[in-house]
């Protein structure tokens, strides 16, 4: 773990240094939302204290500064994803809005009666419901790549599911409920061989390893700022320029137009065509600060930290009697979903909370994959760059306490 000093990283996150329930806080819920480094908090404060104005329209100095900050953030995101062109970066409210944007523009234009949209059994509701809504509206069929008992996609089933009626493949890069890393490059290759575009839900991946959209080859890539240790309310849709250019607008309003008369509207160019109204400017600035912070630490070093901690945590949890990991994919990051004997995850979460340990319990907005594993809910501990082996040890002690209460 060369150059990655987790204790130094922890000092950058003020929220971690507190006691809750009389215990030191152990935050193991970063798959729900990441905590924010001081650099992000400072960038947002600085924007409001010095540079705040509306963008793209003012003649004054503050508007210039705000525009520079906002468009500068777009450049930062472009480099982060290794996109070709900053016009391929659209700011949204988050992953959910990014996927809805594609469903409502690309989807409504290209999906018709009898067509198919292909997703997977392990999608978050954000990558199911927009497609379900589209299919219901258009009389199209939602088809699903199955998951095996490890929580990996059944790749043998994919080719038969990519049919001449498939209009898009929408797949998560990393499962939020299982931690499975999907082979999206290979899936994209297979879909493209049949001329089918691919959307990747990157909400859980960008936090754990470097992403290169050109290498993946996908057509759309979505992620959220708040999981990437940036603010809530901001997210990103990457779209290959040749995919975005022919698309109709998403929402109507200011900034997405070139000219408006009562008879005719001329829409703005990409990406502004997809950014109606005043965007979350400070959010974009905060997101850029988060990306710069992570790049300062080194994305590869960060990935190595996550891998090593994941391996340690997996061994540690497997040592707890009665614990069953849900999702044991060979490629896995960030997420440890589990059940503990027949103790309901909600009870596990409550007892851990009293030990100062924050985990998520429930269906993780991924009910179809829970149904596959025949559990209504799991407990989920998720890891991030500021987590340590001590955090994992505290979790294990907490789980022993849960077993005592229910003994």
């Amino acid at each position: 773990m060369s150059g990655f000093d987790v204790e130094r990283v922890r000092r950058d996150f003020p929220i971690l240094h507190q006691e809750v329930r009389g215990r030191p806080l152990v935050y193991l819920d970063s798959a729900a939302t990441g905590q924010k480094p001081q650099a992000v908090i400072d960038a947002i404060v600085r924007f409001y204290q010095h540079d705040n104005a509306n963008v793209h329209r003012g003649v004054h100095v503050l508007s210039e500064r705000a525009t520079e900050a906002y468009e500068g953030a777009r450049e930062v995101v472009k480099d982060f994803l290794h996109a070709r062109d900053s016009r391929e970066i659209i700011f949204t409210r988050g992953t959910t809005e990014a996927i809805n944007l594609v469903a409502q523009t690309y989807g409504r234009k290209h999906v018709g009666p009898g067509d198919e949209v292909l997703i997977t059994q392990m999608e978050h509701h954000a990558n199911i419901v927009p497609w379900r809504m589209l299919c219901d509206e258009k009389g199209a069929t939602l088809r699903v790549i199955p998951v095996d008992d490890r929580g990996e996609l059944v790749l043998d089933a994919v080719d038969a599911l990519l049919t001449e009626r498939t209009r898009i493949l929408a797949v998560t890069h990393v499962s939020n409920a299982l931690g499975t890393v999907n082979p999206v490059k290979e899936l994209t290759r297979r879909a493209h061989a049949k001329g089918i575009p691919v959307l990747v839900d990157g909400a859980q991946s960008v936090t754990h390893f470097p992403v290169d959209v050109r290498d993946l080859g996908c057509d759309f890539y979505a992620f959220s700022g708040h999981k990437l240790f940036g603010p809530t309310g901001i997210g990103v849709l990457y779209g290959r320029l040749e995919r975005l250019e022919p698309l109709p607008p998403y929402q109507g309003g200011g900034d997405m137009i070139l000219s408006v008369t009562m008879e005719k509207v001329t829409y703005n160019r990409v990406p502004h065509r997809f950014e109606a109204g005043t965007q979350d400017l400070a959010g974009a600035v905060g997101l850029a600060a988060a990306i710069r912070y992570l790049e300062g630490l080194g994305l590869d070093a960060l990935a190595e930290h996550d891998r090593a901690l994941m391996a340690y945590a997996t061994r540690a949890l497997e040592s707890v009697p009665g614990l069953t990991l849900v999702g044991t994919a060979r490629e896995k990051v960030g997420v440890l979903s589990f059940t503990l004997e027949d103790i309901h995850p909600h009870d596990v979460g409550t007892i851990l909370d009293r030990e100062g340990i924050c985990i998520r319990t429930g269906h993780h907005c991924a009910q179809p994959v829970m149904q596959h594993f025949k559990v209504p809910a799991t407990a989920r501990a998720s890891l991030a760059l500021y987590n340590t082996r001590e955090d994992v040890d505290a979790l294990v002690r907490g789980l022993h306490k849960v077993r005592e209460v229910f003994a």
Binding site: I343, D347, R354, E355, H363, A377, V405
Partner: protein, 151 residues
């Protein structure tokens, strides 16, 4: 302090009822039923009962849920059996006050065994678990067919 609150929440009686719930069955010849759902945690349960005139002659519940929701449902079936609808409603009011405001807010003696749910008031996130069965009972008594939700 924190472990004291945990002991209050997971009292022996609560754990015992969650492991071996009473009246965990579909009532034969039931003339009222309803389903309840807590979308936050995925808990689902159904209540079936036989209403004779105004009196709950038999009641059972089924479903899956956490220790608190199962214990509350189990205790509820014992508490309302052979009582009138009005008495069941009044009891729900008391239980609701108990789990939201704590034991000081109610006449604990009037609650009988249900008093073991008092620890829930220290855990706001668990109030919905404790009240799910009761909302479902109310729906069954009112003859509502649609599933009730805690949300």
């Amino acid at each position: 302090m924190s472990s004291g609150e945990l002991q209050d929440l997971y009292q022996e009686v609560v754990l015992e009822h969650s492991k071996r719930p009473r009246n965990f069955r579909v009532v034969e010849g039931a003339n009222r039923q309803a389903a309840g759902h807590n979308p936050l945690c995925g808990d689902q349960l159904s209540v079936t009962l036989k209403l004779e005139g105004d009196v709950i002659r038999d009641i059972g519940f089924q479903g899956q849920g956490c220790a608190i929701s199962r214990a509350s449902a189990s205790l509820m079936t014992g508490a309302v059996k052979d009582h009138t609808r009005a008495e069941a409603e009044a009891l729900f009011e008391k239980v609701h006050a108990l789990v939201t405001e704590g034991p000081e807010a109610v006449d604990v003696d009037a609650l009988g065994k249900l008093a073991v749910l008092s620890g829930v008031s220290e855990f706001p996130a668990r109030v919905k678990c404790a009240s799910l069965a009761w909302h479902t009972l109310r729906a069954a008594l009112e003859g509502r067919d649609e599933a009730v939700s805690t949300e």
